[in-house]
Symmetry: C2
DNA sequence: ACAATGTGGTTGACATGTCATCGACCCTAG
DNA sequence: CTAGGGTCGATGACATGTCAACCACATTGT
């Protein structure tokens, strides 16, 4: 691999734009969330995924898989959220090792309070700046990349250690 | 703000896709970098920005601004990179407070060794999966978002404290 | 039944990022 | 020239994420 195909001007522009957008958008959304809801983005994601579930509760590993987090990270984060009363750990009847994470009433209140402002921010700083065609293209392109990464070589890219690669 | 405009199906798809892509792509690129160059993504970014500069050196705050990092974060990170011999801190003749960050020979070797593989990975996992039209669209859309965030309300979204917004 | 092995989750040590603060220095007004 | 106020960068305390064990339980084969 002496000389690879470097990025041409357009590709470079897309790549740099992506990185910059990533950073700025993150800062802005995080700022909004903490400011008017006292939540971090990770907090929001956890609460959001939990609240979308029929029973308001999920096995830790199920939640970790959905979020693409390592179990370790999630466990640490849940400990902190639990101390703030946003979630609760329950025993798993089906599997003695397991841990079921449940949204508490306070957690539900927090996500319901945060969601409108957060969605509005996502619109204001991203979605509403795009044409319908661009929204469509972004959806298509990101899903293609995700499928690619989750497929073929995706086993290596997982946060959790699950690969049969030893 | 009782009931905001929630995201419709397409918007939701784009937003979720973006978040997932973000996470998976990051994991994969970071994995590649550490594996075959012993660098983290932040390391790579620092070295990359430094190496693109005519003199291989930049003022700390100039570098921080380009990277959209806080000076504090950069200072901490540079301390670690300095200990590994990748960069050096030099005194700034023009401003006694200032600090000039220089790429060391080892740093240059590291970035040159890492770049081909990294670019190849960016191609393999992103750019080459996109049609030319999508590359173009991604460039356009990200830049529009960046301009929006860096402009109007961008002063608030900066990592460094610089805004006259008090 | 029970050893061997695998999996779910937690934990501690450590790497990294954030925030507030500080000392050193620059700049401008008087 | 010098006092006041700002900026540059470093630092310490703390929040967060990663990695490698580890324990408890489940599962499998015999």
């Amino acid at each position: 691999m002496a000389e690879p195909r470097w990025l041409d001007e357009r590709e470079e522009r897309a790549w740099r734009g992506y990185r910059r957008m990533r950073r700025l958008l993150d800062l802005e959304l995080a700022r909004g969330l903490t400011q008017d809801a006292g939540l971090s983005e990770p907090d929001y994601d956890v609460l959001s995924d939990l609240s979308e579930t029929p029973d308001q509760r999920l096995r830790l590993s199920e939640l970790a898989d959905r979020m693409l987090w390592s179990r370790s990270r999630l466990s640490h984060h849940l400990t902190r959220m639990q101390q703030r009363g946003l979630v609760a750990r329950e025993e798993c009847t089906a599997d003695g090792r397991g841990s079921v994470i449940a949204l508490t009433p306070a957690g539900r209140r927090a996500i319901e309070a945060a969601a409108p402002g957060h969605v509005a921010a996502v619109r204001r700083h991203l979605i509403d700046l795009l044409t319908p065609a661009e929204v469509e293209a972004l959806g298509a392109l990101t899903h293609r990349v995700v499928d690619h990464l989750a497929g073929e070589d995706g086993r290596r890219a997982r946060p959790a250690t699950r690969g049969p690669a030893a």
